[in-house]
């Protein structure tokens, strides 16, 4: 694997005295796809939010491409350009067209020309099958389409690292696939990604490495085949069991 993109050292995060992440360390190499799984409330979202400093941290340090993220708040906008993040709920800007949603940040933050930004936006939209929706507004799109736009909106900033927080959790089942396909495609292109998901099949297909998060720390990590077929820890076994039960129940 190539150069190190993300390094988390002894991260400590608490909310009003309640510890959520405790002494968590993690590195991610260029081109690596790591999938975080774990029970609800174990701190997956919080971990991603700490990585691009949407949450302050109480201890440890996070380095992105060698630069410490939480060191200087004034450098944050600069650093955040290198991290793309897509959330669970569709977070497009409702007052802007699809094209304007995508080109806002490259134009205002990176000072690229409108022509340049729009040309790239259209190329990226083409790749996720939405080139013909450029002039539409978010409210005219389905949930799955909105998530694909949100992914494009992050990609156009050329981030070194992409964060995905349960991007299909709010979608109707028939739309999950179209979004996951985009993520699989990104993985194939060699993007560095940190993905939180409850879709275990997908996790298995996309991940180079699975991180099992529980009780504020990484309890187990390994290659997908090893983790899913032969989980080492009892907690991971229990977690995976509840999953098969839920799947059967559906």
């Amino acid at each position: 694997m190539g150069r190190e993109i993300l390094r988390i050292e002894h991260l400590h995060k608490e909310f009003e005295g309640k510890t959520v992440l405790d002494d968590l360390s993690l590195t991610l190499a260029e081109g690596e796809v790591a999938v975080i799984v774990g029970p609800s409330g174990c701190g997956k979202s919080t971990l991603l939010r700490c990585v691009n400093a949407l949450e302050p941290i109480q201890g440890g340090s996070i380095f992105l491409d060698g630069a410490e993220i939480h060191a200087d708040p004034r450098k944050l906008p600069q650093l955040r350009q290198k991290v793309g993040m897509v959330f669970q709920s569709y977070e497009l800007f409702p007052h802007k067209s699809i094209l304007d949603n995508i080109t806002l940040a490259p134009r205002k933050v990176q000072k690229r020309s409108r022509e340049d930004a729009e040309a790239e936006a259209l190329t990226l939209l083409e790749r996720v099958g939405l080139a013909d929706r450029a002039k539409d507004y978010p409210r005219q799109l389905s949930g799955g389409q909105k998530q694909r736009v949100a992914i494009v909106r992050s990609l156009i900033m050329h981030p070194a690292l992409m964060l995905f927080d349960e991007v299909t959790a709010a979608l109707d089942p028939e739309m999950v696939r179209e979004v996951l396909d985009v993520l699989l495609d990104l993985a194939k292109q060699g993007r560095t990604m940190l993905i939180v998901t409850h879709e275990m099949q997908f996790a298995r297909a996309v991940a180079d490495r699975i991180l099992f998060l529980d009780d504020g720390g990484i309890v187990e990590e390994g290659r997908p085949a090893d983790f899913f077929d032969h989980p080492k820890t009892e907690r991971a076994q229990r977690f995976l069991n509840t999953f098969t039960f839920e799947t059967v129940k559906e």
Partner: protein, 224 residues
Amino acid sequence: MQALGFEVLWKGKNFARLMGGLWVALRISLIAVGISLVAGVLMGALMTRKNPLIKALTQLYLETVRIMPQMVLLFLAFFGTTRWFGWNLSGETASVIVFALWGTAEMGDLVRGALESIPRHQYESAAALGLDGKQSFLYVILPQTLRRLLPQVINLITRMIKTTSLVLMIGVVEMLKVAQQIIEANRMKVPNAAFGVYLTVLVLYFLACWPISLLAKALEKRWS
């Protein structure tokens, strides 16, 4: 026509003098509305700050302006400033100040409410894309806020214009005073002048208020 004394109105500057009072009142409400809209956005942004001192001060301002009857505020601005600071504000300036203070407070509270109703994720998405605080406010938050505000702002503007009829009343008093002077000056030559002049004043007052009330009604229907 001679008998009603309308011709008195066209003598010299009489008609212009009558219109003057009316125009002053309209001008006051328009300037005050303009100031309130701009200052209200800044005020609203300030009101969402977490700083407890800023919070307390803006709250105090809002409540004070809301609780005090406009007439009291007008009185304070007109006579109070002369008495305490030695300023000699014209009636018009004092009125503009009072209505702008009031409008800014109301507009600020509307803007605050709208800003707070924008989901937190909108701020976070903007931040995650690398927009700094100013860019996020300008390109993401403010446009959405203003869109949400539109109906309430129109309602506020109509309320302001209606309330400025307080000043319109002053304008009418002004008009009546002028009318009386005109009547006195012409008592010998045109004994019936009183009737014509007062009738004109009535029509003028109606003409000034009617479009405003029509506009207010139309806007209310459209935005409710």
